[in-house]
Amino acid sequence: MKRHRIRSLVANTAVAVLTAVTLVPLVWMVTVSFMPRGASSHFPPPFWPERWSWENYYELLVRRNFDGAWFDYRIMPALWNSLAVAAIATALGLLLTVPAGYAFAKLRFTGRERLLKVMIAALVVPGQVAMLPLFLLFKELGLVNSYAGVILPGLAGIFSLLFVRQAALSIPEEMLDAARLDGASEARIFRSIVLPLLAPITVTLALFLFLGSWNDFLWPLIILTDQHKYTLPVAVAAIVREHAADGELMMAAAVVTTMPVLLIFLPLQRYYISGLLSGSIKG
């Protein structure tokens, strides 16, 4: 029994230490963002602000007037851009892939198996291969530097479609056939039977799509050329490449970028993790 208690102590301590070390960067990010300018550049590095200050957030987020010229870091506009882009990308992504995933699982149509094979094969092609021609295509179409240009490539949701299909496969065939015999239209069946059954994985998928869009970096960096249209990661990267020395300010920018997703993730983490597992088991 004593050995058991020692083992329990060691294991619990190890997990606690590992978690503490993992969380240090995130906690430090928050505490430094509240330090007065320059306070973090000391040795030993302070972990806790001596005086809590909002000045970094004020400087970062509020537009100020210097000698008649407006100046700001364009973080607030970027925040709204990111929010709008992620919300639209999520809504359209669900609208496109949830019905399609169901159709691929449960409706019989010619070419279904072949299309499925093509899409699974397409999964191995990294997205970066498409980026250069896509940029040129979007240039022709006038989509460079537009939100449509940011969102559109993400809507080619092969992964989402296969994810929904996987879940829809478990819907019992008899249930759908019974509804068909009762004279329900296909649209009615989808709305009243299929959608409620797919509700949990729709939440999971929405979470994947929202976080994916919010955190996306390379494509928005390529397609957005006007600073006023930048999404948060692109705006933050642009600032850090210019103002890298202002530690506290940069931490405030990092907090603004990470906190919204953490606040969305934490209450919904169960959905995220269950989705992650079903995706990985499928392979």
Partner: protein, 293 residues
């Protein structure tokens, strides 16, 4: 056409059209682009585009920075995959231990970095790794070790970025591995215990074979991920110092969207694709041969 078939096309048509238009078509065009000298002059007039055959690929093989980028990327993968998979497995084994309490809490906390933005957390790590005021060097001095010029020394820059990447992603495979560990046959474990197998023996001969396929799959996906590193050097080092963190994707981005050599950049993208495909196939083949799959 049956009613079902008509509905199916209504439901799948839009997404299939988008996949064809913004993914399949561009991938095919990438092949075409890679055999042209498409550059900034082509923006002025299409007439400036010429077919150059394999010229871009040959040109790349003669570019020292491209070789440097390949070597750097390979180093990222070779060091990074064992680091990340190792930590994921260690954390999963810890979380799997029967005596550990509050598992859901630890799980979420350890996973949290994964959902954050790479750019934002790279900014944070840039300061953690700061030579003079960073917490990491402070921790090193606190235990009596010499400090490291993490992002300023060409030999330390890749390990420094890997510390960050490992921190950010290990939670993902940790979750995958905890699920695999939960599926290890308990009767087999019990039999090994009764036969007097040591803790290591049980891990080696019962646990490892059972989670082998999962480990292999995770490492295949990790390799692909490490070969696509871009944002980390873009934010933390700008490819430096001394080009020690220029990755293949970083090279492609600069070539394509800084110098506007889109033909050349497209060749880089295709080479990256072939490399990912090759490494993935070799790993799967190794796995089959050793019967991990």
């Amino acid at each position: 056409m049956t009613r079902q078939e008509r509905t199916a096309w209504w439901l799948t048509g839009p997404v299939l059209a988008i996949v064809a238009g913004v993914f399949l078509l561009p991938v095919l065009l990438a092949l075409a682009l890679s055999v042209t000298d498409y550059s900034i002059y082509a923006f002025a007039s299409r007439a400036n585009v010429q077919f150059v055959g394999l010229g871009n690929f040959i040109g790349l093989l003669r570019t020292p920075l491209f070789w440097r980028a390949l070597a750097n990327t390979a180093l990222f993968a070779v060091l990074g995959v064992p680091m990340a998979i190792g930590l994921s497995l260690a954390a999963a084994l810890l979380l799997h231990d029967k005596t550990v309490r509050w598992k859901p809490l630890w799980r979420v906390a350890l996973f949290a970095p994964y959902v954050t933005s790479v750019v934002a957390t790279a900014v944070v790590w840039r300061f953690l790794l700061n030579t003079r005021y960073g917490l990491i060097n402070y921790a090193l001095t606190a235990v009596g070790l010499p400090t490291v010029d993490w992002l300023g020394n060409p030999h330390a820059s890749i390990p420094a970025i890997l510390l960050f990447v490992t921190w950010k992603i290990f939670g993902y495979n940790m979750i995958v591995f905890t699920a695999a560990l939960a599926a290890v046959p308990q009767d087999l474990m019990e039999a090994a215990r009764l036969d007097g197998a040591s803790r290591w023996g049980r891990f080696r001969h019962v646990t490892l074979p059972a989670i082998g396929p999962t480990l292999l799959l995770a490492s295949v996906m990790s390799v692909a991920g490490f070969l696509q590193i871009f944002a980390e050097p873009y934010v933390m080092t700008l490819g430096g110092p001394a080009q020690s963190t220029v990755t293949v994707l970083y090279f492609m981005f600069d070539e394509g969207f800084k110098w506007w050599n889109l033909g050349q950049a497209s060749a880089v993208a295709l080479i990256l694709f072939v490399l990912i495909l090759a490494v993935t196939n070799v790993q799967t083949w190794l796995g089959r041969r050793n019967q991990w799959l």
